[in-house]
């Protein structure tokens, strides 16, 4: 993308100006080709979202008659305010706002919980010598192979037996053990030179002090990177919230979309516009988080500032 024909730039010096005069403007087909591919790729990714956004600004009746819309309609404010604030559902006391809040609680709790647990687990594995430490690591590591779906029934049984269905605790806590996070933090800690720990020991920092004074600040970028991944991952959880929440007050956006649409089938025409709007809303926060933290994210994965 950085390759742009420089003849359009304002030359910085007389010499540069002379140069641009001599060189005839030429079309570099490889650049055009690259851009064509990139633009096609971008459109491929963006168009469905764009259609959803545009379509969500039309009335349900229009959508029902004419299908997906190419041009923005005039119902945007109505649709979105209805989705956000209009009470609906079986109990009639759930709004888009409630679901959005729940999603945030799940996403943030999920991400922070995973970070806290995996940081501490990795700290133990890397810095403490205890029997079967390596075994412990590999046991944790192999659970990477077992997705949530494999253990979902026993997990549900336990959470149910503990009476934690329809609570935020039940929604978040069973999910926060993270092999991925532990693995990432382990690798990161291992890349921190041993001398750092030794210097801290000589400086009189015990295990707790070392963790909070040295390790935690050093892991900032890593934490940010993992936060992004985990927030999006948590936000998009569908199966677990579906199982664990029956009370609409605990519905998350991702879980709510389908439910809400079904309920609204009570009128003659499905509220396509509102469903689209809800989908857009459900997508927005993860996108914002990624855009906002992107710099940190890249830094966390590439930087070695030690």
């Amino acid at each position: 993308m950085a390759v742009v024909d420089t003849s359009t730039d304002i030359p910085a010096s007389a010499e540069a100006r002379a140069k641009t005069h001599i060189r005839p403007p030429s079309i570099r087909w490889s650049v055009v080709g690259d851009h064509a591919i990139l633009i096609f790729g971008a459109l491929f990714m963006m168009l469905p979202v764009l259609f959803a956004l545009i379509t969500s600004t039309h009335e349900a009746i229009t959508i029902h008659k004419e299908g997906l819309q190419w041009l923005p309609g005039g119902e945007m404010v109505d649709t979105y305010s209805a989705v956000m604030f209009q009470q609906s559902g079986f109990t009639g006391n759930i709004t888009g706002m409630t679901m959005l809040t729940n999603s945030f609680i799940l996403g943030i709790g999920f991400a922070l919980g995973k970070i806290a647990i995996s940081m501490i687990a990795a700290y133990a594995i890397v810095y403490f010598r205890f029997p079967f430490a390596t075994l412990a690591f590999w046991v944790i590591f192999t659970t990477l192979l077992l997705p949530l779906e494999v253990r979902i029934l026993p997990s549900y049984e336990i959470v149910h037996a503990m009476g934690l269905t329809n609570t935020y605790t039940g929604l978040i806590v069973p999910l926060i053990a993270s092999a991925t996070g532990t693995f990432f933090f382990r690798q990161y800690y291992k890349s921190i030179p041993d001398e750092m720990l030794e210097a801290a020991r000589i400086d009189g920092a015990g295990p707790v002090k070392f963790f909070f004074d040295i390790l935690l600040p050093l892991s900032r970028t890593m934490i940010a990177a993992i936060f992004i991944i985990m927030f999006v991952f948590g936000w998009n959880q569908y199966l677990w919230p579906t199982l664990i929440t029956t009370d609409e007050g605990y519905f998350t956006l991702v879980r709510g979309i389908r439910q809400i649409l079904q309920v609204w089938l009570g009128s003659n025409i499905p509220q396509y516009g509102q469903a689209m709007a809800l989908a857009i809303l459900a997508m927005l926060p993860p996108v914002m988080v990624v855009v906002f933290f992107q710099r940190w994210f890249v830094k966390g994965l590439t930087e070695s500032d030690k």
Partner: protein
């Protein structure tokens, strides 16, 4: 009191080899001791045992008159400078230096005074609020030393602190460390594999080989009368020439077809090693006895002098001559009696 005594210390990593083997060393207050040896000789291990970062398998280590075998590194009253500096990247220079003191719950004003003082000594005043990554290698090294200085410890421990610097800076920093140590008068133990660094810095030098002390003494003692073949070849640059010669039993050794007087005051027999430094072998001139013919292979030009490499009687030999000396294919050598070191061929000990 900054004395350090190491008494019959062993380190066993459980692999059948003693990394440190029965080392005893007594260091006086204010002395600058350099531990030198090839990689894997146990010098770093020994230093880290003094620091408390490695456990002591056997023997004891005392700092001052307190035995510290089971004392936490932080409570040993030592400060350490690491090869890779080990500065805390997220803290400013000031906080890096103050961290150890803050952890000791020292008075704020006292911390500021000490950090200010150390920064002045190390010319770091303008950098106190910077992060380590904004500093050059030499400056980072100085911060690492500042962190040690503010502690005002009984002993400084240096673990190859200059290895990460480029050659020129290393020489500069070497001078700075020496001056600093003189000025503060703090007992220091310094580990390096660079014999030049060791020679220039040390009050006393410890040459370690395979976990054992080969020799302990002043740099000149080690240079002038190396106790073993190992020390002889390790100390001094270019390396000492070592020849296989036959003892004749009459105050001389047979080298090729020449007899070389060794002046040892006792007879030597059998095969022994004759050591002579490149600067001591001289081209035979006038009436000086010729002890061999050097077949020259190549010449290194160093500016102040030239190093002539070649073989004598089929054995490798290096000769250092003044810059102006004209080199031909063959050089007659004279080995002065007072420059000769003889070593037992079996044990490697000095005869």
């Amino acid at each position: 009191m900054g004395t350090v005594s190491i008494r019959n210390v062993n380190k066993d990593y459980g692999n059948g080899v003693l990394a440190v083997n029965d080392v005893s060393l007594s260091i006086d207050d204010g002395e600058f001791i350099v531990l030198v040896g090839p990689s894997g000789c146990g010098k770093s291990t020994l230093l880290r045992m003094v620091a408390g970062l490695e456990t002591i398998t056997q023997g004891e280590i005392a700092i001052g008159d307190r035995i510290v075998n089971d004392v936490d590194p932080a409570k040993r009253d030592i400060a350490m400078v690491f090869q890779n500096y080990a500065l805390y990247p997220h803290m400013t220079v000031r906080r890096n230096m103050a961290y150890g003191l803050t952890n000791r719950k020292m008075d704020k004003a006292e911390i500021n005074r000490r950090v200010g003082e150390a920064a002045a000594i190390l010319r770091l005043e303008d950098y106190l609020d910077r992060k380590p990554r904004q500093l050059s290698g030499g400056q980072r090294q100085r911060v690492a030393m500042g962190r040690a200085i503010v502690r005002e410890p009984a002993a400084f421990l240096f673990d190859e602190p200059l290895s990460n610097l480029d050659a020129k800076l290393r020489v500069d920093m070497r001078g700075e460390i020496k001056q600093l140590q003189r000025r503060l008068g703090t007992t220091s133990i310094y580990v390096t594999h660079d014999q030049m660094e060791a020679m220039t810095l040390a009050d006393k030098l410890v040459v370690l080989n395979a976990g054992r002390i080969e020799q302990f003494g002043t740099p000149l003692e080690l240079f002038n009368s190396p106790a073993s073949l190992f020390v002889a070849s390790f100390i001094g640059s270019p390396e000492m020439n070592l020849f296989d010669v036959q003892g004749t039993g009459n105050g001389a050794v047979r080298f090729g077809d020449a007899d070389v007087k060794h002046g040892l005051g006792k007879a030597v027999s059998g095969t022994v090693k004759l050591g002579v430094r490149p600067h001591s072998v001289v081209p035979a001139k006038g009436r000086a006895a010729k002890h061999g013919q050097l077949a020259v292979s190549h010449v290194e030009e160093l500016g102040v002098e030239r190093l002539i490499h070649g073989t004598v009687n089929g054995q490798r030999c290096t000769l250092a001559v003044p810059a102006g000396y004209e080199v031909s294919d063959q050089v007659s050598l004279h080995i002065p009696t007072d420059a000769i070191h003889l070593f037992d061929n079996e044990t490697g000990r000095r005869l």
